[in-house]
């Protein structure tokens, strides 16, 4: 025993060690990943986010430098908290809280004390920051908006939240993501693709060099700039016209489907969603449930289309052969469309309207009779209604249009299934649903859908899916298919003639522009809301669709002004000014421009909120 005890001990210890090594190195992979977390830092390299230009190459959105005030708690010395918080314009409590959080997070790693300090403040703070050890300013790129317009379709960017990270593994905490509008829809193009750089860390989490000489590093993919179809000047002008009003404009170039302007009012200045007050300002916008600035009325609001819808019924009537250009009906301040059911019209007693006069006089009786004929043209009313419904769908109504923003509404075009459910089978006939003839009833459209069917009329039978993106740095031209409507092009001629007369002699004479043939159709849309659970009628919406010039149209638009009363009161002049601005580049009718710019509907909007009884359509 005494000759071998030490050998035995040595072998025993050695075998324990080898067993332990086996456990640590071979049968436990946990340590490997622990080591990587521990010692290798993966640091992203971000390409600069793409710029956004208007259709003429004018810059809308670029990037600017802002500064984050950082602190490494370990490096700080005793300092005057009051003075520093005053310098950076932060309340002492907030400052102390942020500093405490930074300390708690790590004493050695930098944390943000105050984010997105503007360039101007930066200069001032930088000058005095030497007094405070451990604090420094770190550059950062944020968006810069060159004009206070278009926040509804431009959208904004902000830091990703937990949900974004869960949805898309690309993002890491603290990175930026497009939140709405173009920034969201074209996020992948605008952001490019981040690269990676690996660093070797030491035990204090400090970087001590690149990891394996950059063997695993990945270069970022450059971001693309976007050129939008929006016309900056037109957009700006449209937004100014809508001051103190609610509603919007959708303007489209008919040939290409390019959206020239998308105005929603009220809107907000995109710059307020930058910098350190973003969340505060955003909450304010989101909480405003009365004027709803975050609600894009041009894309999301569903209204009854009103009288402009009559032109579609005229086209369907022509296509189905139930009327022709010269066919006329008599109107006696309206007509009885069923027993004891009278539809009012503003035509004088004994007016005889053919198609063209019916359009420019906006004769309810004419279109009610036409609609009845369409519905009754087939064996059953169901078939008739479905034919009508399908024609409308070919104009892009009743469904998403498929434009390149991720918000919108379908609108609604009723078909036989809907009414069969509603009234039970066969419980309805043309007269039951007669309101559809004049764009009231169950029909719902969004303004962009209205602008789109106006463009289809301007094109005499087709439209191109409306869109915002004209080109990117990579894609120079985009190709779109023409979407044909189910109406033959010959039928558009009389309808367009009627629309031209609306402006020349009819309800929208105010929309006339010197040397430009404008075709349009006014609308005055009844609308209701619930006040304390009671259906209450409010002042009508003012509506106008138009395109110009008559031949080779360059612009088609839909304008609506909430509670603006009749169509030619607000919507028609606004549309007319927009057309003049776009086609002539300047507005000569200063008197009209002034009237619109100064006009306010705020009193109208406050009526039903006052809680007192009020009158409408004053």
């Amino acid at each position: 025993m005494k000759r071998y005890y030490l050998q035995i001990l040595t072998l025993l210890v050695a075998s324990i060690f080898i067993l332990r090594l086996l456990l640590l190195q071979i049968f436990n992979s946990e340590y490997k990943s622990l080591s990587e977390d521990n010692a290798v830092l993966e640091s992203p390299i971000y390409p600069e986010r793409g710029f956004i230009f208007d259709r003429n190459g004018k810059i809308l959105v670029a990037n600017q430098i802002a500064y984050d005030l950082m602190v490494i708690p370990e490096n700080t010395k005793i300092f005057d908290t009051v003075e520093l918080s005053k310098l950076i314009n932060l309340s002492i409590d907030e400052f102390k809280l942020n500093f405490y959080k930074a300390k708690k997070f790590s004493r050695k790693i930098p944390s943000i004390i105050l984010g997105e300090i503007s360039k101007e403040d930066h200069a001032y703070i930088q000058e005095k920051l030497w007094k405070y050890d451990g604090f420094y300013l770190q550059k950062k790129s944020i968006r810069k908006y060159y004009h206070d317009i278009g926040s509804n379709f431009l959208g904004y960017i902000s830091e990703v939240n937990d949900l974004d990270i869960k949805k898309d593994k690309y993002y890491k905490t603290g990175e930026l993501i497009g939140r709405q509008g173009i920034e969201k829809y074209y996020e992948n193009i605008l952001r490019g693709k981040k690269g990676k750089k690996f660093f070797q860390k030491d035990r204090f989490n400090r970087i001590i060099g690149s990891y394996k000489n950059g063997k695993y590093d990945l270069l970022p993919e450059t971001a693309n700039n976007l050129k939008l179809t929006i016309d900056l000047e037109l957009q700006k002008y449209g937004e100014s016209l809508f001051k103190n009003k609610r509603g919007g404009i959708v303007a489209i170039e008919p040939k290409t489907g390019e959206i020239l302007a998308l105005i929603t009012a009220p809107n907000y200045n995109p710059n307020i969603l930058l910098g350190r007050d973003r969340s505060k300002n955003y909450r304010k916008l989101a909480k405003d449930t009365i004027s709803k600035p975050l609600f894009d009325r041009g894309l999301q609001a569903q209204y009854s289309p009103g009288s402009p819808f009559k032109v579609l019924n005229a086209l369907i009537g022509l296509q189905e052969g139930v009327i022709n250009k010269n066919h006329s009906y008599v109107c006696n301040k309206g007509h009885f469309y069923a027993k004891d059911a009278f539809m009012e019209c503003h035509c004088k007693v004994g007016t005889k309207n053919n198609l063209i006069t019916a359009i420019h006089q906006s004769c309810n009786s004419y279109f009610a009779k036409t609609y009845k004929k369409i519905i009754n043209s087939k064996e059953t009313v169901s078939q008739g209604l479905d034919i009508w419904s399908n024609h409308l769908k070919s104009f892009g109504l009743g469904d998403y249009l498929g434009y390149d923003l991720s918000i919108g509404q379908k609108g609604f075009i009723p078909n036989s299934i809907y009414y069969n459910n509603w009234y039970r089978d066969g419980g309805w006939k043309a007269s039951t649903i007669i309101s559809n003839a004049i764009g009231q009833g169950e029909i719902l459209t969004t303004p962009i859908q209205m602008a789109n069917f106006t463009a289809a009329i301007a094109n005499r039978g087709y439209y191109v899916t409306p869109h915002f993106l004209k080109s990117t740095s990579e894609i120079k031209t985009r190709k779109f298919k023409k979407k044909m409507t189910t109406i033959d092009s010959i039928h558009f001629k009389p309808v367009i003639e009627g629309m031209e007369k609306v402006v020349k002699y009819g309800t929208a004479r105010i929309a006339q522009i010197k040397n430009i043939e404008v075709c349009g159709k006014t609308g005055t849309v009844e609308n209701f809301i619930k006040i304390n659970g009671k259906k209450t009628q409010l002042t009508d919406h003012s509506m106008f669709i138009a395109f110009a010039p008559k031949t080779q149209p360059k612009i088609a638009l839909a304008v609506f002004v909430e509670n603006g009363y009749w169509g030619s009161r607000w919507a028609a002049p606004i549309a007319s000014l927009m057309i003049e601005k776009y086609l002539k580049n300047k507005v000569e009718r200063k008197w009209l421009e002034n009237r619109i710019l100064k006009g306010s509907l705020e009193i109208e909007y406050s009526k039903h909120l006052s809680g007192k009884p009020f009158k409408i359509n004053e």
Partner: protein, 419 residues
């Protein structure tokens, strides 16, 4: 010295020795490598110093080979006395590093006299055991031997350098070769178990367990046919209780918090990977991340990031584990085993008791360093700061171990030259 000397020299040990030292230099280079500096190999670096000491040892070792073996035996007590003096001198001229006064600083070169004392103590014990009058089974001889160990042990405790002190304590193992009853080893084991359980369990429960355990054994062994005395069991219980109480007292009152923490971490009483358990945890991560083949020379991310403290000295094994993996680490352990077992086998061939016991002392030194150092790196033992022989950076340690190897080579080659 004649021609046959070269044939008789133990080449296996030389090969093991050289490969350990060179492997040590490679690993020291890796722990101190800074890729931002992109420096080459320089004599000023720690790895360079390691190699320089290696050459110095070779020169000195070559001289040692020609010294007559009797010389060591005759000068044993002198060398021992000198080394004890050098330990005492520390209290007057010593340099304090990391709150331990263990160093002389002479013209920029630091010397650790406890390393010299290892050689001196080994010589003195071997000399004592080889004396004609010594019989280790007798209390007097045992006590003399213990005193030879105890003097440097206490002087080093006072520095304080508990790690090295434990090494001196391990010299006790030599006595078993000379016939000391293995019962002592058994008692030592029981003491160790009692020590650890004192830290784990409350004192009163241990004492209760101890009494129950002893009485149970007594009743099992006590048969009507063969009566045994109860007296030794009572003595055992009393001694153990005293031991437990004193351990409890020493642990709570004499130990400093950092010493307590080390035991607490290793026994799993405290889970704290950032604070107290940081070293142990980082060490395990580094070794564990090495996998089968390791990350390769200079590729260890933990090593580069300096996650493991004192990596070039006490925790050098973590670099081995990370960069050379299971294969490299096992190989290193294997070389140590070959070194120790081979030397022990050769020692048994010695007819001279002094030389045999001296070689045993060398092996015990190697064994205790090897066990404590690697055991600590693997998280099996508490943090005790002692170097891994031949591998760790540190001139005094490498020099003294090298000299010990050469003394062994001398003794082994002259095995047949009876005097």
């Amino acid at each position: 010295m004649n021609k046959t000397y070269l044939y008789r020299i133990d080449w296996l040990i030389i090969i093991c020795y050289i490969s350990l030292v060179l492997f040590g230099a490679v690993n020291i280079y890796s722990t101190t490598y800074d890729n931002s500096m992109n420096q080459g190999f320089s004599p000023e670096s720690l790895a360079g110093k390691h190699i320089i000491i290696f050459f110095v040892s070779f020169l000195l070792g070559f001289l040692i080979l020609f010294i007559k073996t009797q010389f060591f035996q005759q000068l044993s007590y002198v060398i021992y006395f000198v080394s004890i003096l050098s330990l005492i001198g520390l209290f007057f001229f010593g340099e304090t590093v990391n709150s331990a006064t263990s160093w002389y600083l002479i013209k920029g070169i630091s010397l650790q006299p406890s390393e010299l004392a290892k050689i001196g103590t080994a010589l003195a014990i071997s000399r004592h055991l080889s004396d004609f009058n010594t019989d280790i089974k007798k209390t007097k001889s045992l006590l003399t031997g213990l005193i030879l160990i105890l003097i440097p042990f206490l002087l080093i405790i006072l520095q304080p350098d508990p790690g090295s002190a434990i090494i001196f304590g391990s010299f006790f193992l030599v006595f078993f070769r000379e016939g000391l009853s293995f019962n002592y080893l058994f008692f030592l084991l029981i003491a160790l178990i009692l020590f650890i359980s004192t830290l784990l369990i409350e004192v009163k429960y241990i004492i209760i367990l101890l009494v129950i355990f002893s009485l149970m054994i007594f009743y099992i062994l006590n048969r009507p046919s063969k009566k045994i005395k109860i007296f030794p069991y009572i003595i055992f219980i009393l001694v153990s209780t005293t031991f437990i109480l004193s351990v409890n007292f020493i642990f709570d009152s004499v130990f400093e918090q950092r010493h307590r923490d080390r035991f607490n971490v290793i026994l799993g009483l405290v889970e704290d990977t950032q604070g107290l358990g940081y070293n142990v945890n980082q060490s395990k991560i580094a070794i564990g991340s090495g996998g089968l083949k390791g990350k390769g020379f200079l590729e260890g991310t933990q090593t580069k990031g300096n996650f493991v403290p004192e990596q070039q000295t006490d925790y050098i094994f973590t670099t081995v584990g990370e960069e050379w993996g299971f294969v490299g680490s096992s190989l290193l352990i294997l070389i140590f085993v070959i070194l120790i077992v081979r030397m022990l086998n050769q020692a048994e061939k010695q007819t001279n008791i002094f030389r045999r016991n001296f070689i045993y002392s060398i092996c015990i030194l190697l064994f205790s360093h090897f066990t404590i150092n690697i055991g600590m790196s693997l998280g099996l033992l508490p943090t005790i700061g002692i170097p891994l022989p031949f591998i760790s950076s540190g001139g005094s340690s490498l020099l003294s171990f090298s000299l010990l190897i050469f003394i062994y080579l001398n003794f082994d080659s002259n095995r047949l030259n009876e005097w």
